[in-house]
């Protein structure tokens, strides 16, 4: 079972929840950091890294001797990664989305696969918890290509070792966030009961509802703000699976990189209950309680 921990607004506690959830899991589990622009899961799980590799994607490399400057590649490319005009052919590998169109359409078979570095994928263990993360190269504009490669490795690891996965997703509701939750079995939306938290939570529900996955909410910093979030969840029939109170002691512990579930018996049981409620959400006999926009 793959649980994606997402949110509309940044800073609501995705990584906090993902890390604590992983540590109370009752079976083999992989913590996966798909927030490749700003990966933070390792700061809390503190894994021993066992391996890493540079991730690349294929970009066009032109054998100019074979090129007739027909322009078919340039005509097809939607991203201006390859450009033909007069007797000139240029490639802009950083614009390439990796569709392979230019290579396929070239009548002279003059375009082969070059490489663009996306970033790094690393894996390891933190005690009982497995770890997998992607880290985007600074200056690389697109996160989905690296995210796809991390997800491919995740599938391989789960097929080989079994067990569950908990994905720490990037914030927001545009393509990087959607990419992170797309192939999960259940989506957890972490929010805070402030006006910003509520507004972005509603956006997130709208973004993820069409994916048809069971969804549940986690309210972090409960007690702050107002109760608009509770009304919204009730109206939409979205189950609130856990509440973490607004507490300076928790904020300070987080600021020191502590796992919140370790702070007290009360907090640990909050996360154990969360784990169990997530499982319940994905049981086929359970009526679907996901919100639909």
């Amino acid at each position: 079972m793959i649980t994606a921990v997402a949110s509309g607004k940044g800073g609501t506690g995705k990584t906090t929840v993902a890390a604590s959830l992983a540590t109370v899991w009752d079976g083999p589990v992989l913590g996966v950091d798909l927030d490749v622009e700003e990966p933070n899961l390792h700061l809390f799980l503190q894994p021993v890294i066992q391996g890493s590799q540079m991730a690349h994607m294929m970009v066009p490399a032109v054998e100019e001797a074979k090129c007739t400057y027909c322009g078919a590649c340039s005509e097809l490319c939607q991203f201006k990664a390859i450009s033909v005009f007069n007797q000139v052919i240029l490639t802009f590998p950083e614009m390439c989305h990796g569709c392979g169109g230019c290579m396929a359409i070239c009548p002279e078979k003059a375009i082969s696969s070059g490489q663009r570095e996306l970033g790094e994928i690393s894996w390891g263990r933190a005690g009982d918890v497995g770890f997998l993360a992607g880290k985007l190269r600074i200056g690389e504009a697109m996160s989905p290509p690296l995210m796809r490669m991390v997800k491919t490795r995740l599938d391989v690891m789960l097929a080989a070792e079994g067990g569950d996965a908990i994905i720490d997703a990037p914030p927001g509701v545009s393509c990087p966030a959607v990419n992170a939750v797309l192939d999960s079995d259940v989506i957890l939306l972490v929010t805070e009961p402030t006006p910003f938290g509520v507004y972005d939570f509603i956006l997130a529900c709208e973004a993820f509802a069409p994916l048809g996955k069971p969804m549940g909410a986690v309210i972090n910093r409960a007690g702050l703000g107002n109760d608009a979030i509770y009304r919204f969840c009730r109206e939409k029939g979205l189950p609130i699976l856990a509440e973490i109170p607004y507490d300076r002691a928790i904020a300070e512990a987080y600021a020191r990189g502590r796992i919140i579930a370790d702070l007290s018996a009360g907090l640990k049981s909050t996360f154990v209950a969360l784990r169990d409620r997530i499982r319940d959400l994905t049981k086929p006999s359970q009526p679907q309680k996901a919100a639909h926009a």
Binding site: G10, Q78, G100, A141, G172, Y199, P210, L224, A251
Partner: protein, 292 residues
């Protein structure tokens, strides 16, 4: 005319709350919300839309059912797993479609349409602090940065038309396309961070991004009393890299209280926090070369 972008690297550090307050303190400016993915500034500024425009970007593929002969070539060629076969035939999943046009180009039956994608809306609005240029991407839409560029252009044109000498922008979290677009042509990026391992980690990445794009960079440490040791580490980093630390702000529930009331923090009775924020704005103006 100067352009100042408030960014963060890590989300949730207080970027939007501070930008709202700076919008109150600044004279003669156009405010711009460049976090088009999850915009929140309007919740503090209560804008009245004066102009609304639709935003189209890229395309998506659509298989025309009665022209499709089920050969499946599109599904084989799609690098994004966006074309699947179900009971009703082959279908493009709009969530996965990258808009690359490969299936359209190679379909032997020419059975695939390629309409433009309606990705969002943008607005020029009036607020109690002056004009606001902002947008909302539809959930799930691509965030290539083009909408960010449109907003920046509009804000600059509005500044020129109204004789404003500042465009003040609320940026997006992260280091991807939208942030990169935000930095284009900016005179100063001010990063709001927090003294946590995540805050520091993400600050170093966004600092490197700004260095890569040669954008002047300064730092505000928000909620600094949450972890004074970590705050000190951030200061040491800034010192080593010669990034000015503009302010050290205490954690103050005032920020949320203001947000709940739909106000910015400087509109409430003065506290140590809002006083320090005022000093911070003066320093930002000086750094950006704004004559006041």
């Amino acid at each position: 005319m100067r352009e100042i972008i408030i960014i963060s690297g890590k989300g949730g550090t207080g970027k939007t709350s501070l930008t709202g307050a700076f919008g109150h303190l600044a004279a003669n400016k156009i405010i711009c919300d460049l976090d088009v993915d999850a915009p929140d500034l309007h919740l503090l500024l209560q804008p009245t839309h004066e102009r609304q425009e639709e935003f189209y970007s890229g395309h998506e593929a659509e298989i025309v059912r009665d022209r499709c002969d089920g050969c499946g070539l599109c599904a084989t060629m799609c690098q994004f797993g966006a074309i699947r076969e179900n009971g009703a035939g082959f279908m493009v999943d709009p969530v996965r479609c990258e808009g690359c046009k490969v299936c359209v180009a190679f379909c032997p039956s020419e059975a695939i349409r390629f309409p433009e994608k309606h990705c969002g809306q943008w607005y020029v609005s009036a607020t109690r602090f002056g004009p606001l240029v902002h947008a909302q991407l539809f959930p799930g839409a691509e965030n290539s940065g083009r909408l960010v560029m449109i907003l920046k252009q509009q804000a600059k044109e509005l500044a020129k038309a109204r004789g404003a000498d500042l465009v003040l922008c609320d940026g997006a979290p992260g280091i991807g396309c939208p942030v990169i677009s935000s930095l284009s042509g900016a005179h100063l990026a001010v990063a709001v961070t927090e003294p946590t391992p995540s805050g520091r980690h993400d600050l170093t990445r966004v600092a490197e991004l700004c260095r890569h794009f040669q954008t002047a960079f300064a730092v505000i440490i928000n909620k600094h009393d949450l972890n004074p040791e970590e705050a000190a580490r951030i200061e040491a980093f800034c010192q080593a890299e010669s990034y000015p630390v503009i302010a050290r702000l205490p954690h103050d529930p005032l920020v949320t209280r203001a947000m709940v009331q739909g106000l910015v923090v400087t509109e409430l009775p003065e506290t140590a926090f809002s006083r320090e924020l005022g000093h911070a704005w003066t320093r930002i103006e000086a750094l950006a070369g704004l004559s006041r």
